[in-house]
Symmetry: D2
Subunit: 477 residues, 4 copies
């Protein structure tokens, strides 16, 4: 029950009013957390000075307490004077240090050495520990749904029109595959997040003064202490190459698009006229404030809506790939929105998991819709059998017969023995081919090819890959 002062709805509503998600995200993404991460980097830099021998350990005591000791409000107060957020932070740290250490605080670093490194660290930790973790939790749910419904026949829909059958499990397995690949993208981007301690324009000029023998030693020590990787042949200007963040954002947004697709599918399957999925409603819940009977797919709508809100932010991310010369600061505000983006995708992931937990699958309704569709869809196997048996114009024969059936409002199957063209074509088929048709008409839900097998194979593959992703994330998170 927080943050009613906020204007942004993620803050006030999705994050601020959801205690579980708040507890999960705030240590990585809140403004307070961002400041804490910056302190952590400044501390790592001081420790690096100790490590390389320019500062003695006893001159720099209690560094590990600084993160807890400095309240963000103090940093903001100081910023009112300095008008510079990192210098404000440095001042707050410095006054807690003994003189000798005080001279080394922030030494050789430019603000971006601290902020880019802190941000990279927070993104990496949030992406691997929360976003990937929760996305895998969702993926496991989709796999279980796919396995359960692997053989549950459902009419396939293309253009919103009944096509030919598939299984609900097959439809879900496609999401297993799509979500799984996105998670791998995110995990790889998170692992690659780098930092930098190379000074004002990335030349290690200041570092060359203080440690001429090995100007990169400080950077190695700082990043090593923080668990950030150093790319081979690293190079930076004042700022880290913006593509690392862009890749992570792309991974997150393209995952969100997949969730939006799943949300749309579910919304439509829940339409009054389709009714193939339903929703578990708790006592006391309200669907509509004036229509007491309504049960609405609000969770799925919310996920789609978050996509509309956050997907366009890729434009900002692309724009922030551009920074003039060694750096302009036109990402001063825009770059600060990345934590919210990552948080919102994680929220959507968790909301989707909850939505699926509250979704009921109505196999009977699926069967009923499929049977109604049979009126028309046997057109395809008919045409395939005709053509595969050498009837050159099989497609046209069936198309025209389907139109005649439609016009006379009869199921196509009922016209097999009365429609002259169909009758003639059927009579020329080998017995086995004719049996194939008859079997499908008798049992239309069998016309699903290898949908069930494919579904189960995909689930199996991804169960293996989930284990691998967990392993790899554990190694770097």
């Amino acid at each position: 029950m927080k943050l009613f002062d906020a204007i942004n709805p993620f803050d006030s509503r999705y994050y601020g009013a959801d205690e579980d998600f708040y507890a999960l995200a705030s240590p990585y993404l809140s403004e307070e957390a961002q400041i804490k991460y910056q302190i952590r980097v400044e501390v790592a830099l001081l420790e690096a000075f100790v490590e390389i021998g320019l500062l003695s350990a006893k001159d720099a005591p209690n560094l590990d307490k600084l993160e807890q000791e400095i309240p963000p409000s103090e940093v903001y107060e100081e910023e009112r004077i300095t008008q510079h957020n990192v210098r404000a932070l440095v001042n707050c740290i410095k006054k807690r240090l003994p003189g000798k250490a005080g001279a080394f605080i922030h030494l050789t670093a430019t603000s971006c050495d601290i902020t880019d490194t802190a941000r990279a660290l927070s993104f990496k930790e949030f992406a691997s520990r929360v976003l990937v973790d929760k996305a895998l939790f969702l993926l496991e749910r989709v796999i279980s749904l796919a396995r359960t419904c692997a053989g549950t026949a459902q009419i396939g829909r293309t253009h919103g029109q009944h096509a030919i059958p598939t299984t609900f499990g097959h439809a879900m397995a496609l999401y297993v595959s799509r979500i799984g690949k996105r998670i791998e993208k995110i995990a790889a981007a998170a692992e690659a997040m780098p930092g930098k301690i190379s000074g004002a324009v990335g030349t290690y000029a200041a570092q060359s003064i203080v440690f001429p023998g090995d100007p990169k030693a400080l950077e190695r020590a700082v990043l090593g202490r923080l668990g950030l990787a150093i790319p081979v042949s690293n190079i930076a200007s004042q700022i880290v190459e913006p593509e690392y963040t862009a890749d992570l954002c792309y991974g997150a947004i393209s995952l969100l698009s997949v969730l939006a697709n799943l949300a749309d599918d579910m919304r439509h399957l829940m339409r009054s006229e389709i009714g193939e999925i339903g929703k578990i409603v708790d006592q006391g819940h309200v669907g509509s404030s004036t229509m007491p009977h309504k049960v609405n797919p609000v969770d799925f709508e919310n996920v789609k809506s978050l996509w509309k809100a956050y997907m366009p932010r890729m434009i900002t991310v692309f724009s922030d790939q551009i920074s003039e010369h060694q750096r302009d600061l036109t990402n001063s505000a825009s770059g600060r929105f990345v934590p919210e983006l990552l948080g919102a995708v994680a929220y959507a992931v968790m909301r989707m998991r909850k939505a699926l937990d509250r979704t009921t699958i109505d196999g009977e309704a699926m069967k009923a819709n499929l049977n109604k569709a049979m009126d028309q869809f046997i057109a395809e196997p008919l045409y395939i059998v005709f053509s595969a048996n050498g009837i050159n114009n099989g497609y046209e024969i069936v198309r025209d017969a389907a139109k005649r059936a439609r016009d006379s409002k009869r199921p196509l199957a009922d016209t097999l023995s009365s429609d002259p063209a169909l009758k003639k074509a059927l009579s020329g088929l080998p017995a086995k081919a004719a049996d194939t048709i008859k079997a499908i008409i008798r049992n239309p839900e069998t016309y699903i090819g290898i949908a069930e097998k494919t579904c189960l194979e995909v689930c199996g593959v991804w169960e293996g890959r989930i284990a691998a992703i967990k392993e790899s994330v554990r190694a770097f998170a």
Copy 2:
């Protein structure tokens, strides 16, 4: 010093940490404010029932206190049970009402009747009272800058290259014109914001039950009480036509683009090599955490950066123009971001005003740059004079001479009497035409056409229109 828990930087940094702006925006845009506006609409509906005579005034006492009495936290707590935000609000109100009034709370309204109306009202009031007001305050500053520098010659720059002279006032007057027109767009869109009380699918069905003689009477009464206009031949589905909000957002974003342009111009004029504008630096301010000498255009960078962050949200606004049938709820999250967008544009407007207040104009530097440019720019008046006096290939003569001058690293003016082609062309000119050229060379900053006059005219026109805008906004805000 607030909102460190927030993840969104507008909340934590631009709005939450700026006490003045916080005081200005929170009564209209915060989550708490949104709930208060909804209470206001529900109360107006109850009062409308009194007005049309279905409820007696004494059965509905103390309605005007409800807005203050109900804390947002109570509504959020209730929403945990109902899972429906408007029903939660209704429950909170209802328990404070006597039984007879309780039966009428929310009666005939669908949730969107309340939320769309509340949102429209908050947008209208914020846009007119804060956004337009502050934008006019900025406009006045730009006008004053333009008037002051109306005749301050400056080299014009196209493609980043020196072109021919203009005046700094003329450049500012163009922003007067552009900003002024955007403000008029915003004011018009704010004034047009409508509400609705027409029920679940916009048919006034429930209203037809309770007040069959005049089903639109309730809507008229509610909107009238709130000061919202009713469009002639109004029609809605569950929701108000989304174009009203889209028009307002477009006005705001297109204003932000103009500010971003101004910010870019200023950033570049402050480049070390150009130095035509400077910045008043307060004691204690820090430009760079490692380069103690730096003075950076951070305010202008911030405005440009806000543009990168908020401009792409137009995609969300366009997406929210689409809502299936009588309404889908896929704007459940996305539609909630409009207050932040409006707030951010207002913040950028105010930041730009502050930035201009802290900007110094260096007329000497402008003159110096212009004089250096003179080496080349007299090419244009030369060619114009040649051609206007019937020299057919005037353009080519001058282009080639300019190249020769450039190659020999001499100012073009210095070659007038030595370059054979120029010499020949000049010798054929009437005396008056030759004098024109000589005058420009003697005093290159006079080659500014009617820049000063145009600048002053534009300022005058907009001073008049500002008065008109203020008048019109006062009438509806």
Copy 3:
């Protein structure tokens, strides 16, 4: 059958392969047309010199033939040498002029004086003569559909769930209102398109040399000849204020969003399970290459898809509002895409009109769906009647009864006399109120409030406004 070499699908497929649309759009929007418009502006400038008396009419003969005489290929060939498109055009014109006129070609103009003016003119003419014209043609179709189905009851759908009834005409009338307002926006933006002849940085410096007494006379003469308005207190840099084009693009894109919404509604109404609208299929048409039975909503899908392709271009338009100082040329490519955008919206408008012409409305299916929905939707009128008659907890009584009915798979109406809570509440109602309920149950499609009346009123209002739009466009197009 053109343009197979093209890569852009609008060129090859929507415009290039549609002879009617090609004939309509190419005179305004093709690359050839853009060059012709530039010739027209250069010619108007020469005529202006004649008009103000600097050039005698007999020295500038046959100006009106230039537009036809100069093939675009010649201009492109010349550009290979000049590497400058306007100078190339000037050269092509100049070699066709006698010497005296040759000296005046392009005189005082900067390239943008020509290109911005030419573009404004082409946009204005295309927008008013084609886009607005065709949009009005579409609007008339939607009005006729709305009038025809003003009383055709249909179940309202919110969240994809059955809500309460409306009429199909009411749903269409909302589009009448939305499309109508967008057309007015576009017409207003087209009318406002300005040109400029104020020279390299907008100061009229060159014009002050050739016509010192009235430097703006040339601009007035040129724009007057072309039929472009001159804003009061006009000001420009090298380029016209970019907001004029932005406003036009916003009008067009926001119209496209409304069409996309209509397209989505239609697609879903055509779903196999809903079937409330159908499609007239010509002999020989193919729905699917493998499923001979399919009839797909391809026209509506196309309109939605064009929205996905063109809506994001607003980002480009906003970006082109920014141009450094008196102008940078970073709109060199991006600004050239506006004709395609306007053309694509016009195409979508025409495609939507065709789609509606081929759409059949199935009132029987609408009635059948509505009747099925009745099982639940009478919950609303029940609750309204209860509350309006002073039953305080009317909402909760009905919500709980609806849940009980749903759980026992019975229509809510069937439980009126058996559900104890409902029974009790009903028994307390006045006779008239009870009759209201009974009437709705007997004839559920009457629960449509004033949907029909509202629909017809809106149609009437817009028939009047169409006439007004036509009148105003005729005046300036």
Copy 4:
């Protein structure tokens, strides 16, 4: 000299009017090419039927000639009748086949099996053979520029303000690293492009009828023949997972952003006041149509402008990740714009290469600007030396002295012996530390840390990776 009928400027201007680029791109990306690719897939399907033994080779003669034989215009004519583009193509092929083969044309395939596979193939081939190839060609140019200028000192610029020195080679090496990584992304995405032959809803239902023993055999045969990989545990609906195309588009657009950044840097370095780079101008070229002296950075402006035009298309790509159920067709138009996007990025890559070829580097100008900057930038090494030698408030001492110097308009270096605070701090330094400062003041361009070394290392690393990319692309292209 083509395509003047086109409206899209890429068609008419960048691709259609550039003979070299036209020759390069049209075989992959033109509408004609797309149709040819579809024929290639249909032919591969027929050959697959031969391969698996359902059709004898002699019944299907001359398949390899079909691609050349069928003109696109014929397919378009046929589409007027069928209103279905793939069925039209099938009809055109079929009439060229003997009866037995005719029955097998397209058999078991849904349209998307053909179109998605054809598109994937064209994207893969264009991306690897043209886009990656040309991007490597550009990368080699940037490497050579970086190597040449590895030690060319230049003032670093942050916020547009002089910061501390770097080298121009270091700045270019950062682009080597950024461009290189983007190329690797594109190559990986191109290699991963898959096809599908799994029927109407991805269940292999039709394939299960014609080849029950191994329904996936046809797909394996077709994709194998075309050189497209089959992902392990492949799954599709009617369409291929849209993320494959999204990843490729993201790679291309994020490369374009890097080019836009490089273009901006170059534009600004060419500003009149900076003048660190220049442009080789051919005889006859025109900079401005009215200012004969102008030389403008039009190539760099064009690249930036293409970014503004094409970057927003990522919104379309994300939108096309969403397709309802087994597929809706709302990507019918939008999905067709991907070839143009890929083509435009390739064009920008080539244009950037040409621009760099025509760019001159002015080392003297760089040195002059750097020397001017020295007035201030020695603030950093001063403060670093103070702090590293234990002066606790080194930063503040230098910041205040820099301000005093600025206020008195003297170079900071000149105040070292006169400013009391500086003098005092300097006097306390060890001799070696004082020497460091003196050396930098004597020779400011030495304050570049390890910029040169880093530059050369990065170039070396990427020369190796270029070889690896070429190798890998050769394997799959």
